[in-house]
């Protein structure tokens, strides 16, 4: 799964979100997503992270080993 595919998956699950995928170790494995989404307003960090994870439910079981998250509101 490419970083672009992950980005698209998150964006289609959270319409209108801005997503930046970082690969700090350049290994394609320990990736980090920075997600800015209006729908995060008044949600706890836990809920915000859950919302992002929900868009990648299947991928997190197998393909994605580690996904760091940073969530923000616009």
């Amino acid at each position: 799964m490419t970083l672009d595919e992950i980005k698209n998956k998150i964006q289609s699950g959270l319409p209108g979100s801005e997503v930046e995928i970082l690969d700090p170790f350049r290994d394609g494995v320990h990736i980090k997503a920075v997600v800015t989404f209006d729908g995060f307003h008044e949600k706890s960090i836990l809920e915000q992270h859950r919302m992002v994870y929900a868009t990648l439910k299947e991928e997190l079981k197998e393909e994605i080993h580690a996904l760091g998250l940073e969530t923000k509101t616009p």
Binding site: H30, I45, L46, H49, R50, Y53, L56, K57, L60, K61, A66, L67, G68, L69, E70
Partner: protein, 102 residues
């Protein structure tokens, strides 16, 4: 999830004030994210117990279902699921981690 597995998990999270499901052990974490959470807990001098999910695949999968959270490590404080690595790091910076674990 079957009841035996569920009660095993509940026993761990409810029987310890601070409990971490991790890969490896505090002395020898097997994943960078697990290592990060251990180091955060040590920084705030929290007293904690851990379970190595690599030692038991049923707990490894069970805990994901229990919290509806797809990744490990997972931190519990007083029986409540707190979050994974990134949330713990934010709590460390904000001072929440120290407050909640002491």
């Amino acid at each position: 999830m079957d009841d035996t597995l569920k009660s095993k998990i509940e026993e761990m999270v409810n029987g310890n004030d601070v409990f971490l499901f991790m890969k490896g052990t505090p002395e020898q974490p097997m994943c960078g994210f697990s290592a990060g959470v251990i180091s955060a807990l040590n920084q705030v001098k929290a007293k904690y117990n851990t379970f190595n999910v690599l030692s038991d695949p049923s707990i490894r999968e069970g805990i994901k279902e229990y919290t509806s959270w797809p990744t490990i490590p997972q931190l519990y404080i007083k029986g409540q699921f707190v979050g994974g690595h990134d949330i713990v790091m934010q709590m460390l910076q904000s001072g929440d981690l120290a407050t909640k674990t002491n």
